[in-house]
């Protein structure tokens, strides 16, 4: 039984890391822009499809450019649409981004078709790694490494670089940031692009694991919202802790009560919300008042 628990917990951690990557982009978008981006899952799906297209045209090395391309797409969307939502009531951003999500899914179907796309792990990451009771595929170890590196880089960027400090300052006091001569609209555009790029990274990493289909966005957006709610809106640390916790909860539920696996993360969210409504690391939200 201990072997089983160790295996499933390790598996849950890998799943959790993927969820963290999906959720942290959503959290950053809300935390720094105040926009609840319902289209976040659509950018996740777009990341997978762009990666597939790049792979087909140029091979595996080109796949790394997929997040950058999706990030640029996100920046275009921000300039054309999202910036009109700043300072407006949250319901408006939910409705508009929901419509955006449907639009992106329709565009995916238009360009790539309604059928799924075959996209498997690269040959150099094929095979499994067995260490005692732990069984993990090499690709999932790669996902673990890539996700950890991405999260570390993001944390370092936000905490220690001047641009990261500008992003965080802009979310607290946009008026002061503008008075200091910083072009805030450009900063906001970059933040939205960053959030979309993070979703796309998750999509690229998930593409060999999940079915690449136009509806794959729903597999990402719901766990992302749950994790952001559990961790606390706008909290980077919260998204990380909540994501890992959700992954482990789901894996262990599959072991003991598989038909309740889908509901387990919602039950977990329900319990956390009852005990701490703002989430594990949530703060009182003061901006845009």
């Amino acid at each position: 039984m201990l072997d089983t628990l160790v295996s499933q917990t390790a598996n849950g951690l890998v799943l959790g890391f993927l969820y963290v990557l999906i959720a942290v982009g959503l959290s950053i978008t809300f935390g720094l822009l105040g926009v609840i981006n319902f289209a976040h899952g659509a950018f996740f799906a777009l990341g997978a499809y762009v990666a597939y297209q790049l792979f087909q045209m140029f091979g595996w090395p080109a796949v790394v450019f997929a997040p950058f391309i999706v990030g640029v797409m996100g920046m275009v969307v921000e300039v054309l649409l999202i910036r009109r939502l700043y300072g407006k009531e949250p319901l408006l951003s939910l409705i508009v981004t929901f419509a955006l999500a449907l639009l992106i899914e329709a565009l995916i179907r238009f360009f790539w078709g309604a059928d799924g796309k075959p996209f498997n792990a690269p040959p150099f990451l094929a095979g499994v790694v067995e260490i005692g009771p732990l069984l993990m595929t090499k690709y999932r170890v790669g996902v673990l490494v890539a996700t950890s590196a991405t999260l570390l880089a993001l944390w370092w960027f936000l905490s220690y670089t001047p641009y990261g400090r500008i992003l965080r300052a802009g979310s607290r006091d946009p008026e002061m940031v503008e008075l200091l001569g910083i072009n805030l609209p450009r900063v906001m555009t970059a933040v939205f692009g960053l959030g979309c790029a993070l979703a796309a990274i998750a999509g690229v990493l998930a593409a060999p694991l999940w079915a690449v289909s136009p509806s794959m966005a729903s597999n990402a957006i719901m766990p992302a919202f749950v994790i952001v709610a559990i961790g606390g809106l706008g909290s980077f640390a919260g998204a990380v802790v909540a994501g890992l916790a959700v992954g482990i909860v789901m894996s262990l539920t599959i072991q003991f009560k598989p038909d309740a696996a889908a509901a387990s993360m919602y039950v977990f969210m329900f319990i956390v919300m009852l005990l701490r409504p703002r989430g594990l690391f949530g703060e009182r939200w003061e901006r845009f008042e």
Binding site: N120, T137, A211, S213
Partner: protein
């Protein structure tokens, strides 16, 4: 004057209610739940897809050859519950035992935890019923975790259509499946071969089994309208009840007392070496070889439980 469609059993059952109330012939090319031509049968509904028990009975002899310890992984809704219930009922007959079961919620993206459980249980064979994108995700994970060549996967392919395999590619595809029809079956009739050729010319790929199901349903409807010389609902229903296809080794038709198309399915296995991106299967054998065996496989009126009302 008629409706053709309905893939999920749940939506098909809802459509049947409306079709019966409005007295419109409804042809179901998908939908495998037993009650559609069982206790919920309707005089106005005709189905081409064989039921879960019929297709499972075709698969079980292969399961018995592969081993005695069986693990089930099925979707947690009507169809999956039908697979589990029917297969469990056949285990004793084939000398098999159940070593584990997972009923998986629909739209599950990650199957790694389920596969860890299957691996722990060490079954001889895995009987599945996963559908659509869930099935594609499972196959990818099954291959990724090195299970593809270790434990054989057997399923009835009511919802595992050709497109689910094309979605994952040759690398990840594996298993033995029961399908209503396969485009590359050498025993296909001349009309079916012509349909395949025309489909490939128009769409650049062969028709899936779902395409055939819709084709034969539409063909039967059009031939019934021609025979009835009318589009009146009652006349069309009467003509469909008399419709018969005599192009194959033996004729097949909609059974008069439950409107189920009584036709053998085909058992296929994923090729060891896939070189054609559209042709993943070797045809192994039909589920029944004679007209009498086919009728027996579909069950008697008492077993099915359909009481067909008057028009």
């Amino acid at each position: 004057m008629a409706v053709l469609g309905g893939n999920y059993s749940s939506s098909a059952l809802a459509m049947m209610t409306v079709a019966t109330r409005e007295k419109i012939p409804l042809l179901l090319p998908g939908a495998a739940a037993s009650e559609i031509t069982g206790k919920s049968c309707s005089r106005y509904t005709f189905r081409t897809q064989a039921t879960v028990p019929v297709q499972l009975r075709g698969a079980m002899p292969y399961v018995a050859q592969l081993g005695k310890k069986v693990y089930f992984i099925t979707p947690s809704y009507a169809y999956g519950q039908d697979v589990l219930r029917s297969a469990r009922g056949m285990l004793k007959e084939f000398g098999a035992t159940e070593v584990g079961v997972d009923e998986v919620p629909l739209n599950t993206a990650d199957y790694s935890s389920y596969i860890l459980k299957i691996r722990q249980a060490k079954p001889d064979v895995l009987i599945g019923g996963l559908i659509g994108g869930d099935f594609s995700s499972f196959l990818k994970k099954w291959n990724e975790m090195g299970m593809k060549d270790k434990i054989p996967y057997v399923s009835i392919a009511i919802t595992d259509t050709d497109t689910d395999f094309w979605n994952v590619g040759p690398q990840a595809s594996s298993g033995i499946f029961v399908k209503p029809w396969h485009h590359n079956n050498p025993t296909n009739t001349a009309a079916e071969k012509q349909m395949v050729a025309e489909f490939e010319k128009k769409y650049g790929r062969p028709p899936s089994d779902k395409s055939w199901s819709a084709w034969i349903a539409m063909r039967s409807l059009l031939e019934a309208i021609t025979a009835a010389k009318s589009t009146d609902s009652k006349a069309v229903v009467g003509a469909l009840e008399k419709w018969k296809n005599t192009e194959g080794d033996f004729p097949y038709a909609y059974c008069e007392w439950d409107h189920q198309l009584v036709k053998p399915a085909v058992i296929v296995g994923v090729k060891k070496q896939i070189v054609d991106k559209w042709d993943f299967f070797d045809v192994l054998k039909p589920t029944s070889a004679t007209e009498a065996d086919t009728a027996k496989a579909f069950g008697s009126k008492e077993e099915i439980g359909c009481v067909m009302p008057a028009l």
